[in-house]
């Protein structure tokens, strides 16, 4: 690690003030991504602003419209939440398969989506359910939030405060994990979302994306068979030692099919 100032923020405004005044200041949530980055000297921030002291940022609540998850809610809390399990069981299921117990007990939804790792799980849930991201400044539709590889719509002094997930009909997430990291090689979230059927894919490309053809097919007939014959092009998909682009494209179909079957 390089040396930096450490500040434990007491409020979202205080944290926003610090990062707003200094482009080289960085927020810290669960630290599961950012601390390894610091330890490997891949980042040299001036100040690290710790959000762990901000009260009330980790709440999880449900009402008739859906579930709201505070940005600092840990993956383990979402996985174990009775509210989430009752309102959107697929979301709790997704959270329960992120990383390992240590990661789930530290990592947060805010940190995960702000980081927007192309292989992260949450982006699929946000896009798959048509969620809304709340920040200290505005609300952003999930479709507009994830803009590219490790890129989001967040500004430098913008802090995720919560994510609202509308209730859905049938929904499920299927993940084919990278054997080494257990992130998603391909993860597909399918849902009869509030605004229609959604199919969101993570892991396969540089950023989460939707598959319109599958959404249309499932809207017409919600069954695994409807998507079994639909494929996506391998063009532009990720390639690494674990999966070729063709393999990823193939897995999108398989995971979509299995997700629909799992959703019932």
């Amino acid at each position: 690690m390089y040396n930096f100032e450490y500040k434990k923020a007491g409020s979202v405004d205080e944290a926003a003030g610090i990062v707003g005044a200094d482009d080289e200041a960085k927020l810290l949530a669960g630290g599961m991504t950012y601390i390894p980055t610091l330890k490997q000297r891949l980042a040299a921030p001036t100040t690290v602003v710790d959000l762990n002291g901000v009260g009330g940022m980790d709440g999880i609540s449900a009402d008739g419209n859906g579930v709201t998850v505070g940005a600092m809610a840990r993956h383990a809390a979402v996985a174990a939440s009775a509210e989430v399990a009752a309102a959107i069981p697929a979301l709790a299921d997704l959270a329960s398969h992120i990383g390992d117990p240590q990661v789930r007990n530290r990592g947060t939804i805010g940190g995960s989506i702000a980081n927007n790792d192309p292989a992260a799980d949450y982006p699929a849930a946000l896009v798959g359910l048509g969620a809304t991201v709340q920040t200290n400044k505005r609300t952003i539709a999930a479709d507009d939030f994830f803009t590219g590889l490790f890129e989001t719509a967040l500004g430098q002094d913008e802090i995720v405060t919560a994510v609202s997930f509308p209730r859905a009909g049938k929904a499920a997430y299927m993940k084919f994990p990278n054997p080494a990291s257990r992130y998603a090689i391909v993860g597909v979230f399918v849902a009869q979302a509030a605004d229609g059927v959604r199919v969101a894919v993570t892991g396969a490309g540089p950023c989460v994306f939707r598959v319109a053809e599958m959404e249309a097919a499932l809207a017409a007939n919600w069954s695994a068979d409807s998507v079994a014959g639909l494929g996506i092009s391998a063009d532009g998909l990720n390639e690494d030692i674990h999966a070729s682009a063709e393999y990823r494209a193939h897995l999108v179909t398989v995971m979509a099919k299995r997700a629909v079957a799992k959703a019932g």
Binding site: N3, Q40, F176, N178, P179, A180, I241, H242, Y247, V254
Partner: protein, 785 residues
């Protein structure tokens, strides 16, 4: 068997310390005035070193010294301790390997300079400021291409990137048998390259006492005396009596901590220059880049059978990747630890093996759990299974047809080994039972109904352990003797300290050795302390690797115990006023034959230290040392049977059942042995399905972190069914054979044979390790196309 003697499943006494965080590892050691080393490492796989500018870095805060290769000219280069004579009778090419690179770097991660500073952060800051002028060269990465024309040349001293070509067996005779054979099975495959991944990374703390002139090196080592010997005799860092090497608790080795690496040589040398203790602990990415890797063979193998399925001959051609330099024992691995095991459990008539050991721009490759024997077992057992499939025979039956029969021991193989004993068919039968072989077809049908492919695979491995009879090893090129030492020291109050030259880094010696002493001398188990790992405390010893600690180290303990009993008999005879011949020893008591006159061993010890009434001429004290040189290797063997299920849609393979029956001779502690079997199989499963050290064409390690290098996890392996079929070895006083490597030797072939069996139904003929989902899916696609 007593409650805590030989054969008792005693829980490991060291585990409480380890699992409660009270172990003492090298990185836990801190000295007053300690400084920290950070190595400047080449980011390039192959480059000339045109200059190293340390001026700016040297002026940075806290920096005590920066050294480059030229500064260490007086220090001897790193050595390979096993000389090979090649097919032309010439010595192998072992190019110089300076601890810090001079003139050229040959793999990514090679140390170019070392910065020593007051804090680790300061050392890292300064290391980043060292300016190195590299002249980039093309890299040689693929071992199969390394000796081809037009490849970049790595070492002047090794033309064509060849260290040696070596062969074992009579080629002409074997060729003739192949010409007349009814069936020939032929395979080509790689044995994938692995990163050892000990839980504790390599680490050292070097100190120099200017007053006494003594150097002390604390190091995560499997063999502290070997470190001391090589650092004295070859690097000239200090005479042996002025160099103390201590290997405290060590968190796993798997071979990777046998070797003498650059870092410990540099630190030991530098500590006397900066006159400060220096610490270095590898970061995980340094471990990936610089620990000696394992395996990495490319092989063509053929098996000739007659029309009854008898194995007539085997022909093997292997290219072994040595990496950029020959590491400490690298040359022995693809030769004497490999080709000599190609007979397997079978009566194969003739065997010929040719090995090319080549240099590439990758980190050196050396012994890794099993070292040569997993590669050999993979060759033999893949061939046998393929032959069974090709000739339409049941794989178990084909093996039984060819097993060395129980009445044929001692059995001389065509590849210079003499097997002492075994019951190969018995282990096979027991394994078939354990695996539920009879129910396999029903399980396969059930899988098929669910859209899955099920396969079963066998591995009837044999290995040579108990490394090694010194004279035999020496005649084959070893630079050291491979005996072991033990010192049993009674204290006046009757408890015992056992000093062993073996080293425990996961094996459970503190428990198992105490059981041997308790058993042999009748001392309560709790009163035996096992001490290892400190060259200033223990007699010279060779350390732990090659599953030698029970067969060689344990036998040394028995020999020392025998000496204790002999001396005790004299003391007891004197005290009990009987003749020595009338004294019997059992259960810790010296008894006058036919009487109830007795003296226990604690009383004898007390008398030895307080010799007021004592045999005339007998030395006081009860403190006996023995050195034991084994008569032969020992030959653990067994059959492992693996059952897998493949999801053809994704290519995922899951291991559904795994049965293992091993002959390790006598078990000192079945609980520890079973743990070793579990761990070994886990590593073998890792090799077969998960682990792969992948370099790209430029020589960059692509799988250089756990994000890409897949370690086996609990959910990757099933609950194993483990059984034993021990035939006591007649060649050592304990009848033991060795169990530390068996799982890693047997499992890759068992798993891969099962994967091949499952995929045969969809027309896949060949798949390489690791059988990742991508590879399995791709193979199914290719077969369908």
């Amino acid at each position: 068997m007593t409650e805590q003697g030989i054969g008792a499943a005693v829980a490991r006494r060291e585990d409480r310390r380890f699992v409660t965080g009270q172990g003492h590892y090298t990185d836990d050691i801190n000295r007053r005035g300690q400084t920290y080393a950070c190595f400047v490492r080449s980011p390039h796989a192959h480059a000339t070193l045109n200059g190293v500018d340390t001026a700016a870095a040297g002026a940075m805060p806290g920096v005590r010294a920066i050294f480059v290769g030229e500064d260490m000219a007086e220090v001897g280069p790193l050595i390979c301790g096993w000389a090979i004579t090649d097919v032309n009778g010439e010595p192998f090419r072992a190019p110089p390997h300076p601890a810090l690179a001079i003139g050229k770097v040959n793999y990514a991660g090679e140390a170019v300079a070392v910065v020593i500073a007051d804090t680790l952060e300061q050392a890292k800051d300064a290391a980043a400021a060292v300016e190195v002028d590299y002249g980039l060269l093309d890299a040689v990465v693929d071992p199969a291409q390394a000796t081809a024309g037009g490849q970049p040349q790595i070492h002047e001293a090794a033309p064509g990137n060849l260290s040696f070509e070596w062969a074992l067996g009579d080629k002409a005779a074997v060729d003739a048998v192949f010409d007349g054979a009814a069936h020939v099975t032929s395979l080509e495959f790689a044995n994938n390259r692995l990163v050892p991944n000990a839980m504790e990374p390599r680490a050292c703390v070097a100190e120099y006492d200017a007053g006494s002139g003594e150097h002390t090196l604390h190091i995560a080592s499997q063999n502290p005396h070997v470190h001391r010997l090589v650092m004295s005799a070859f690097h000239g860092l200090a005479p042996e009596h002025k160099l103390r090497v201590v290997a405290p608790d060590v968190g796993g080795g798997f071979g990777s901590k046998i070797f003498i690496y650059a870092e410990e040589v540099v630190l030991t040398w530098a500590a006397s220059r900066v006159r400060r203790p220096i610490k270095w602990t590898a970061e995980r990415s340094e471990s990936f880049l610089t620990d000696a890797h394992g395996r990495d063979h490319v092989t063509t193998a053929e098996l000739a059978l007659d029309s009854d399925g008898k194995f007539l001959a085997m022909r093997v051609d292997t290219t072994a990747n040595m990496g950029a330099y020959l590491s400490t024992f690298a040359s022995a691995v693809p030769t004497y630890l490999y080709a000599t095991l190609l007979a397997g459990q079978y009566t194969t008539g003739g065997i010929y093996c040719n090995v090319k050991a080549v240099f590439t721009n990758t980190v050196p490759v050396d012994a890794y759990r099993g070292a040569g024997r997993p590669e050999a077992a993979y060759v033999v057992e893949r061939l046998v299974e393929a032959a069974a499939a090709e000739t339409g025979r049941d794989p178990a039956d084909l093996r039984k047809t060819n097993f060395v029969p129980t009445d044929a021991f001692p059995y001389e193989t065509p590849v210079i080994m003499q097997y002492d004993c075994g019951d190969f068919a018995g282990s096979m039968d027991q394994a078939l039972d354990l695996a539920g072989y009879g129910g396999f077809q029903a399980r396969k049908a059930e899988s098929k109904a669910g859209g899955r492919l099920r396969g079963i695979g066998f591995s009837s491995y044999i290995e040579a352990c108990g490394v090694a009879p010194s004279a035999a090893a020496g005649s084959l090129g070893a630079g050291v003797g491979l005996w072991e030492s033990a010192n049993i020291r009674f204290n006046p109050t009757g408890n015992v300290q056992l000093f062993t030259g073996c080293h425990s880094h996961g094996q459970g010696h503190e428990t198992a050795y105490a059981q041997i002493v308790a058993d042999k001398l009748g001392v309560p188990y709790e009163q035996v302390e096992v001490i290892h790992g400190d060259s200033s405390k223990i007699p010279f010893g060779m350390g732990t690797y090659g599953s030698r600690s029970a067969a060689v180290g344990g036998s040394a303990i028995v020999k020392a115990a025998d000496k204790v009993i002999e001396k005790g008999r004299k003391i007891a005879a004197h005290t009990l006023e009987a003749s020595e011949d009338d004294i019997e020893f059992a259960g810790g008591n010296f008894t006058v034959k036919g009487t109830d006159k007795a003296m226990n061993i604690a009383e004898v010890a007390f008398t030895a230290y307080v010799p007021h009434n004592y045999p005339e001429g007998l030395e006081p004290g009860l403190d006996e040392t023995a050195f034991y040189d084994p008569l032969n290797f020992s030959f653990p063997a067994g059959t492992h049977i693996c059952e897998v299920e493949v999801d053809p849609e994704t290519g995922s393979v899951s291991i559904e059942r795994y049965a293992a029956v091993d002959d390790f001779g006598v078990l000192i502690n079945p609980l520890i042995v079973e743990g070793q079997v579990h761990g070994g199989i886990g590593q073998g499963v890792g090799q077969a399905m998960l682990e792969h050290a992948v370099y790209d064409g430029a020589g960059q390690l692509v799988s250089g972190s756990y994000m890409d290098y897949t370690m086996p996890r609990a959910d990757d392996v099933p609950s194993y069914d483990v059984g034993f079929n021990g035939v006591p070895s007649p060649l050592n006083p304990l009848g033991v054979k060795g169990c530390g490597e068996a799982g890693a030797i047997a499992a890759p072939a068992a798993v891969m044979n099962a994967v091949h069996d499952a995929l045969r139904d969809v027309g896949v003929g060949h798949i390489e390790m690791p059988a990742t989902p991508l590879r399995v899916w791709q193979a199914i696609q290719d077969a369908a196309a």
